[in-house]
Amino acid sequence: MEMVNLGIPDLEDRDHCIQTLSLHDITNKINNLNIPVLTDIDNFSSGFDIRDIKCGGNHTLILLENGILLGAGDLQEIRNDSYKINDGWILLNQEIYTKVKDKYNNIDLANYCISSISTCWDCSFITLISKNPSLYSFVLSFGNQSKGELGRKQETKDYTIFKSLNIKSIQLHSCLYTSVMQVAYNSGDMEIHGWGSNNKGQLMEIKSKSDKQIDTPRLLHKFIQNQHIKCHIGKDFLVICDYKNDSVITTGNKKIADSFDDVNFSLQDVDHVDTMWSSVHYNKNGIILGFGNGQLGQLCMNNKSLPQAKFLKCGSEHMIYVSKEEPHVVKSWGWGEHGNCGVFTGDREINKQLVFYEPNIIYETENEEEIIDIYGGCATTFILIS
């Protein structure tokens, strides 16, 4: 498997960390290219720090705090090699802005910022948000689809799948063929819209075969005067955490929904929630509680006491963890067949799938390094180091 999606060309699987991107280099290059960095919008940081990393099947997006968007791998419609940053990474803003301007002639992109990203298997979503309530905010989709996951017809050159006024923020969440967006309005209300594969009823109840695929964003839930909502999505399930009312809605994969229903669970004191493709994990008071597929060691730390997590993030089928006690050490467990859980020292004849049943050290900082964040993709692990 080539690692172009990690921004590392022509390399095979690695079980040791390798640098893929230096933000210091990017800052210099982007400044030298005179690319407009959108910094003058309320509540948006002007920094080159990383806001989010999202991984599709064979591509990766990195969103910076200032709205700069970088991509690696199979980027489809938003790939334009004219904006290469280095051998692996491409600046995506310009190509996206060109496409938006083709559709909306009069749009002044200085009023907008890319504020959220998500990736399905073969496509990408971005929000172009305006802090001016009289201007539309947009959600755009780019790429290929097979289960309606683009949220629009493949052939159309109008990449907009949602637009609205008076928007405070939009959060995107995608996995495999399904996406949801949390739309927070200035009024204090929140809506959850979903599209793509609904094969297990993760978005809405399946009443007929046609309900198994939702081709355009559809309103799923509306919360009045409640924006304390967080969505988490797996390949065939959706978890909606309502922190205001201390309730969790789990839809889709029956095994996950049923196993969650069997426990008396409160969102109080929950520090982290994240999803692998086939399981959801809650971290509460130093205990991780996971529901779903545990066949590849995904649930092996269930109910075991761990030092309180500073960072806890899921990859496709592995967990990545940094404790507050040891903030300089990154550990991982679960399915590590591609080096994503670090070096495997067990017996490969017995454990052919390289399942890690205990936290395995992936990386320890050196000198003055500091771990800023961690992210997981398809059998891939990203560690952000200052």
């Binding site: 498997m1 099947g57 064979n58 298997w121 692998m276 597929n293 496709s316 067949e337 059998a379």
Partner: protein, 93 residues
Amino acid sequence: MSSFYDEIEIDDMNFDEATKTFTYPCPCGDRFEIYIDDLYYALSDLEEAGGELPADELSNIAICPSCSLQILCIGELQDVIDIYEKIGMEIPK
């Protein structure tokens, strides 16, 4: 415990007309694959056996070329026959 990563309905898989192959995403980033004729024979055997076979005799299995994971493709033989008819391909004898 099943040795398969997942059980996936044929309806949820993608069919590539160029390669005549059913595919489904693997969590490693590659795709599980099974050639249409192989799936047809596997489901024929399963149907002949009354819908049940020991796990080690099942062959309706899609394999990822990049890792050790496998999925079990579940569905009716008719689902595959429908694809043959849709693409105008002859059903194997």
